[in-house]
């Protein structure tokens, strides 16, 4: 046992250092941050001439309709901002939906009790903030006229909630704020898969192509080897994410004002513990399942080239759930969504998406998490088995049934 642990450490150290020493790795890892820096530099150059983007949004010019049940909004101020009063909310909303009007603000009778409803034509994530900004600006300015004290106004309007809804092609586009944090796990999943899948696939192929399997299998427990490889890959992934985030973090710290970064007020992000924990577990599960599958493919296929033929469809499994994106968030009961939620290869992405948009209820979440954990462990064990009895078949494809037939016979 002590030797096995010592060996695990040795394998991790060896695999980690030799992966990060590869030239291809350095290029892949550094290419993206370099690209990001270039993009930031371009943004920086073009933005020094324009004004701060938050100001731009507040002063954005667009026409809108509004209804005011509270009587706070000053008609003159509204008109100056481009607003036309209306008394027919339904047709105003319809007009926004079908694109004949840009926005409609519905101020309730008591804005401190009910939210102000903001409807707008979808202008993309970064620009949609302008509707709320203008609606708020208008309410604040009007309130200030009534109260006469900017401080009091601020205190009062601080209690007002805004409900923004934007429309694209007549359909609701989802808001961003509460969705972002749990969706981060999906992003991490994708990034780590894109960066690591190839390494995972090749990590056991290397033993085969280099004919080192026999030496390894007689000195090292294959479970230790595979576990060591996966842990080292995990560390490699972390390292890459850190390298990628470094320029983003630096830019955010030093040039925040000059870059037209989406105004991400971190305080508006809601870190609800439920979805966050679910997301983290799903990420871990998904990572395990895909790693297991990739290692298993590596064990069956004699060369990287042949492994590539299975690799493509497998990666497609990660993107297929996006075809049902709108169903996933609007109608999670749909059969296809249900299938994608529980089929092990589509489950991580689908469940992470649903978790992000809050359509994955706790029971479903628990089922998927446990299912993926079980499947993941089984696949990893299968991968170890295939590596153990398959990778010696240098240069030929392995029949999975063959490895089991052999072990069954041996068990008799």
């Amino acid at each position: 046992m002590a030797l096995a642990q010592h060996n695990l450490g040795t394998v991790i150290a060896f695999e980690f250092t030799r992966t990060i020493k590869k030239r291809g790795f350095a290029i892949a890892t550094l290419a993206i941050p370099v690209l990001l820096i270039v993009v930031f530099a371009l943004l920086y150059a073009s933005n020094t001439t324009t004004k701060n983007s938050a100001d731009a949004q507040r002063n954005a010019q667009f026409s809108f309709t509004y209804s005011d049940a509270s009587g706070i909004v000053a008609p003159a101020g509204a008109q100056a901002a481009g607003g036309t009063p209306t008394t027919d909310p339904e047709s105003a909303i319809e007009a926004v939906k079908n694109g004949s009007s840009e926005a409609y603000f519905e101020y309730p009778a008591d804005p401190t009790k009910e939210p102000v409803k903001v409807y707008g034509a979808d202008k993309g994530m970064f620009e949609n903030g302008k509707y709320e900004a203008v609606a708020r600006q208008l309410l604040e300015a009007s309130a200030q006229q009534h109260i006469g004290s900017p401080q009091l106004t601020a205190a009062l309007t601080g209690a007002v909630k805004f409900n923004s809804e934007t429309f694209k092609d007549g359909k609701a586009a989802a808001g961003v704020g509460g969705v972002i944090p749990p969706l981060l796990f999906l992003v991490i999943f994708y990034i780590s898969m894109i960066l690591l899948s190839n390494l995972m696939l090749n990590s056991t192929l290397e033993e085969k192509e280099n004919r080192v399997t026999e030496m390894i299998l007689t000195t090292l427990n294959p479970t230790t080897l595979i576990t060591g490889k996966i842990i080292s890959l995990f560390m490699v992934g972390l390292l890459q994410v850190l390298v990628f985030l470094a320029p983003v973090g630096l830019a955010y710290l030093f040039f925040r004002d000059r870059l037209a970064l989406p105004e991400m007020d971190l305080s508006t992000l809601v870190f609800e513990p439920g979805p966050m924990i679910t997301g983290a577990l799903l990420l871990l599960d998904g990572f395990t399942v895909f790693t297991g599958v990739l290692v298993a493919i590596g064990a069956i296929m004699p060369t990287a080239k042949e492994a590539g033929t299975i690799f493509g469809p497998l990666m497609a499994m990660m993107f297929i759930p996006f075809y049902t994106f709108s169903l996933v968030i609007s109608n999670p009961k749909a059969l296809i969504v249900q299938i994608f939620t529980y089929f092990p290869l589509t489950a991580p992405v689908t469940a992470l998406l649903r978790n992000g948009f809050g359509t994955l209820n706790p029971v479903e979440a628990a089922i998927v998490i446990v299912e993926l954990l079980v499947v993941g462990i089984l696949i990893l064990r299968l991968a170890v088995h295939l590596f153990r009895y398959g990778s010696i078949e240098y240069g030929r494809k392995l029949s999975i049934a063959g490895t089991f037939r052999r072990s069954e016979l041996a068990a008799k």
Binding site: R18, V212, E214, T219, L220, N221, I392
Partner: protein
Amino acid sequence: MSSGAAEPLVHIQDFRMDFGDTTVIRDLSFDVHVGETFGFLGSNGSGKTTTLRALLGIYRPTAGILHVGGKVFEPSDGSRLGYLPEERGLYKKEHVLDVMVYFGRLKGLSKTAARSWSETYLERVGLADKAKARLDKLSSGQQQKIQLGVTIMNNPELLILDEPTKGFDPVNRRLLMDIIEEHKRAGATVIMVTHQMEEVERLCDRVILLKDGVSRAYGTVEDVQEEFGGTVYRVTYDGVLPLSSLFDVVSDDDGRAELAPLQGASEEKVLRELVEAGAGIRSFTPARISLDEIFIKVYGEQHELAEG
């Protein structure tokens, strides 16, 4: 891996191996005792590598008992095993020393011990300047030396070498033989697959001869020689060799011939027959049949069968 003197270190009994529908090895049984050097011989495809792989748990045997030190081999027993597989290979893109230290660590050596052992070994085999080179920048013979080094790290109690001399030039073959002999003297048990019969005659205490997955001969080198006709007569002559019912001409080339006596014909009878027939005998030496000849004899039957 250590065991009592009476108990064999390697015990194989009724071993059978099928690949799909083909049986590659049938009812193979043999033992290797502590401290002996054992020659594992057989024609190409007779099942030597398969047997070694099954013994070391790389293949799962279809049936039979294959024990190392009284139990089925596990990778965790590998710290005192030195296995040189037939399919050679190490992490090609890594540096020589890194790979050696890695395997040393896996075999339970400390990092410093693995490092200093490796450096000493590289010095000995004349590759000290390659310590920092990538393995794929080495010639194939040089890579073989590195692999041999990895094999004999941590003073293995059991050395299993599948065609160790493959790819070595005569000088390095000598070096390799010396290294094997050193380990043998230090008490290691050696199992060696080879097609080089002179290596067997020089190093091996006992041998097994495998043909088509079946044992054809098993015992000490002398036993096997005895079994396959024991004595031959080496003659040099300058006349004509007669046809005789007393002996077979095993080989005949440029005045040198090897005669195998038939039905226990004695030395004097054969010699008298030769002299009387006027063969012009210049020398006549009884000798043991060489393993080479036994090998050809056993292997040749296959061709006769195929033809007949």
